[in-house]
Amino acid sequence: MSDSLLEIDRLSVDYETARGDLKALRDITFDVKKGEIVGIVGESGCGKSTLISSILRLTAPNTRFREGEVRFKGQDLLTLPERKMRDLRGADISIVFQDPMQTHNPVLSVGRQMVDIQHRSSASRADKRRRAAQMLGAVGIPDPEARLDQFPHEFSGGMRQRIAIAMALISEPSLLIADEPTTALDATLEVQVIERLRELQQEYNCAILFISHHLGVIAELCDRVVVMYAGAVVESGEVREIFHNPKHPYTRRLIDCDPGHIKERARVLPTIPGEVPDLANLPQGCIFQDRCDQAMPRCAGDVPPLTTLKVGHQAACWLNQMEDPV
């Protein structure tokens, strides 16, 4: 068996809509190894959320898995019976959602929710409670024993997100999916949560699939990064490599747009002009051609395949396949 924990293999997902099939994900391929932190970046609507819900198989009713496999520990999740799938969720795969203000049951105390989430364990109620307090302590909530009796609204946003992380890690999963866990928080809390995640990752040695549109956070936390655009992977590789030597024009523009990278004071922050193509009516050829400043005639013809440029760096752009590089 390989050391891959999660392998997404040529995954294509459609949404059936009144306007026709929306090709939300096309040919997604990447993997997450044991104990590794992989980041996924991309602007809104690039299919990040569809990807997560496909992994957990909590998709909307109009979702169709057209092709490909999602293998977790070598087992295809897309064909797993619902019963088995449910046994995985919250046990071996956990998730932390974006908005900590919405992810807790408002009428149950935090302690009750944390005890309830251990419903698979046969431990006694008191043991579960002790475990819950211990996890709260691990994510840095002071006086955890007493705070178990409080309700979600009595905690701040940053604390609630840390509680959500505690709940996700309580079963010691081998994969934690973090869906923009810091987007709803302010900058100082963001750093706190990121640090905490990294510490816990080392302690529990779980892999993290970290979704974000914030490059700085990804650079800070992740080992590898997957750049997605309009439902496809355009570039993937080691964080250092991607940030220092981006090989896809989209990645390059994305890095240029990150306020952390701008050296001079600018009146207007740089943006990538143009819009994401209509996923129900995909244009022929490369999906980024309309917004790309280096588009060539070839880009309008064929879709560039994701090719390995060197070990640990893949990109889908024709520019990298010219006889003599620019």
């Binding site: 969720r89 919250g90 959602f97 908005d99 807790h104 408002p106 309830d116 989430i117 698979r120 009796d149």
Partner: protein
């Protein structure tokens, strides 16, 4: 740190801290106490006649006077409370339980089931309650059970609809999605996570519904369609008093006052409960 206090304790202290809630609690408590210990409290037999002492005013022997058959009005008021609660409590709790179950099924289940249940609710609701009650009583004959069943059937849709709406809002909320992504089964989601979010709202609705039911029972008895004559009921008292109002006003007072008090008490209690069951409004100390 103190031990975690029980939910009921929190709710009761919360209600008692609110002046209106306290008043509601006292009134409701008194009514329930009188109903429970009616046979010890009543100074006379509520259905025992004494023709010599008919239509008397209030005195030390007869606190609220007597009716046309010489029965003690005060004893009849106390015993009438028993009848009122015997109708109201089972009817309201029955309707709440059934409505809650059906409403949650409608809200969480498949679309066709939702449509079917809504059709059922709307059908019941399309009958005016009193007319429906009149029709059923005319068919089956007046009795305590009939009144309970009629009231229960007509209130199910109210609870069902509220439970359904709550379930619909909750099923798309992020914390339910979070529960699902943590591998919770449908039973767990409905029972552990949705139920506590819905039951508070319904409990408030029930507390406010009890006086309506008491008034409905009184109304039916007033029309002679409620409990059968020798059994004392507030509505029957009103009915007797209504025809005898020129001879003595005490029967109307005896029948009317408890209805007003019960309505006020349960409404105050309901309103206070509404504020208390919401943990966000509950004051922590």
């Amino acid at each position: 740190m103190s031990k975690p206090r029980s939910e009921l304790h929190l709710i009761l202290t919360g209600v008692a801290r609110d002046p209106l809630g306290l008043m509601g609690l006292i009134i409701v408590g008194t009514i329930v106490f009188c109903a429970l210990f009616a046979s010890w409290i009543t100074p006379h037999d509520p259905i025992g006649m004494n023709i010599q002492d008919r239509l008397q005013g209030p005195s030390l022997t007869y606190l609220l006077g007597t009716d046309q058959l010489g029965r003690d009005t005060f004893s009849r008021v106390i015993a009438g409370g028993q009848v009122a609660l015997k109708v109201a409590l089972p009817a309201v709790f029955g309707a709440m339980t059934i409505g809650l179950t059906l409403g949650m099924i409608a809200g969480y289940g498949p679309k066709w089931l939702d449509n079917l249940l809504m059709l059922f609710f709307d059908t019941i609701r399309s009958f005016p309650t009193v007319m429906f009650a009149l029709a059923v009583v005319a068919l089956v004959g007046p009795s305590l059970q009939t009144v309970v069943l009629v009231v229960m059937a007509t209130s199910i849709p109210t609870y069902g609809r509220v439970a359904r709406t709550q379930t619909l809002t909750l099923r798309n909320s992020e914390f339910i999605l979070a529960e699902r992504s943590m591998g919770a089964s449908m039973a767990r989601i409905l029972g552990v996570h949705m139920l506590p979010n819905i039951v508070g709202v319904l409990a408030v609705l029930a507390a406010m519904d009890i006086p309506t039911v008491i008034a409905l029972e009184a109304g039916l008895s007033f029309l002679g369609l409620g409990v059968k004559p020798p059994t004392p009921s507030w509505g029957a008292l009103l009915k007797d008093g209504y025809s005898l109002i020129r001879q003595t006003p005490w029967l109307v007072v005896g029948g009317g006052l408890p209805i007003i008090l019960a309505t006020l008490g349960f409404t105050f209690l309901g309103e206070s409960l509404r504020d208390v069951v919401d943990p966000k409004l509950r004051k922590q100390r």
